[in-house]
Symmetry: C2
Subunit: 219 residues, 2 copies
């Protein structure tokens, strides 16, 4: 009967910093570069402390994934509340940081069972949310469900931006302008020009206290 080791509180500020640092390492050097020593060093903390909050490295990686997924979902839903779901999904899906992290987790999921389960479940939820909105939109836009099923649209709106962004990170842009303008032309035909992103430009008056804003992105 060995009694379990102690684990740090989820509310800890240190814990949050460890998650921040881990994300940054994944973006810079990939998931394989995430080690307790490196995380500890970049968080200016002793490596043993990493294991205090996250007994194993998989625990750490999964925690990063969960936090980021929640934030992503909030960002997506906020965008979908507007009247241009296609533009919103496109904007959401072309976020560079989002794509880069997604790819790291996908790569991780290919080789780590625990991550894979988590990944499939979350991805399914994202797809469902998008599909429901597009099904409504398809009615408004008068698109024939047989000819172009919204289910396919969701997949395309995830696949195309991901590859575009990922290739651009590698300096490969052949065919990208043509692809982007093809997509934009289609979106524009249905939803007109994309409305400016809320929150970026300065509002007419009093830009203090933007009240209902989402919390800043983790890292």
């Amino acid at each position: 009967m060995t009694r379990p080791r102690r684990i740090g509180q989820v509310t800890s500020e240190t814990r949050a910093v460890l998650l921040d640092v881990t994300e940054k390492i994944m973006l810079d050097d990939g998931y394989a570069a995430v080690t307790s020593r490196r995380v500890g060093r970049e968080a200016a903390v002793n490596p043993a402390l990493v294991h205090y909050y996250f007994p194993t490295l998989d625990d750490l990686l999964i925690a990063v994934f969960r936090r980021r997924s929640e934030w992503n979902m909030a960002r997506l839903e906020e965008g979908l509340r507007g009247g241009q779901p296609l533009h919103a999904i496109w904007r959401y899906a072309t976020d560079r940081t989002g794509v880069a992290l997604t790819e790291e987790f996908l790569a991780l999921g290919n080789h780590r069972k625990a991550i894979q389960a988590e990944l499939g479940e979350v991805a399914g939820r994202f797809r469902k949310v998008q599909l429901e909105v597009l099904q409504q939109a398809w009615l408004r836009y008068g698109i024939d469900r047989e000819e172009f099923p919204p289910e396919a649209a969701v997949v395309l709106m995830s696949a195309i931006p991901r590859v575009l962004v990922s290739e651009e990170a590698l300096g490969l842009t052949a065919g990208h302008p043509e692809t982007r303008s093809l997509v934009q032309r289609y979106l524009q035909g249905l939803e007109g020009d994309a409305a400016p992103e809320e929150g970026s430009p300065v509002p007419k008056k009093s830009q203090g206290r933007t009240s209902k804003r989402m919390p800043p992105p983790p890292r």
Copy 2:
């Protein structure tokens, strides 16, 4: 003046086995699992021998990438020689092993400069080959280059299959049937049914000595 260390011949059978084994490890457990010790063990050879053929692990990974790229290019060109370039590209791009390895190398390229350069250059060549064939096909099919530029087609024919295959490996298939049938319908409209893959079914007579066949895939 230290004189350089010895390096094994490129023609060596052992060297080829090391490449085979490395590819297998990448597919099973990802690029991060490729270590001289593991490669040596799975090749039933001393780890030091790995460094004899490939001074650093990056050298090993790049060699794997080059060999696989050459084989891929041959496979692609063989397919493109038929009269159904779109079907050929689709078939080429939906190869599971190909997609899995590509993703590993993409992930690798995101964090290793040497790999990144190699990657961009090769990917550009593949894109160019496909584009040239599609430009011809666009004339035959009477597709409006403005409305649907072949450049965009090449990107789409690379992006869509990659994401489909990659997601399926994770058990995520929502929207896939609709997407696949959408694509197939489009391809069929232009090129009819896909001709059976050459080499797979048994020819009428004497299936010995299939003469001009490509060498078997590495691994």
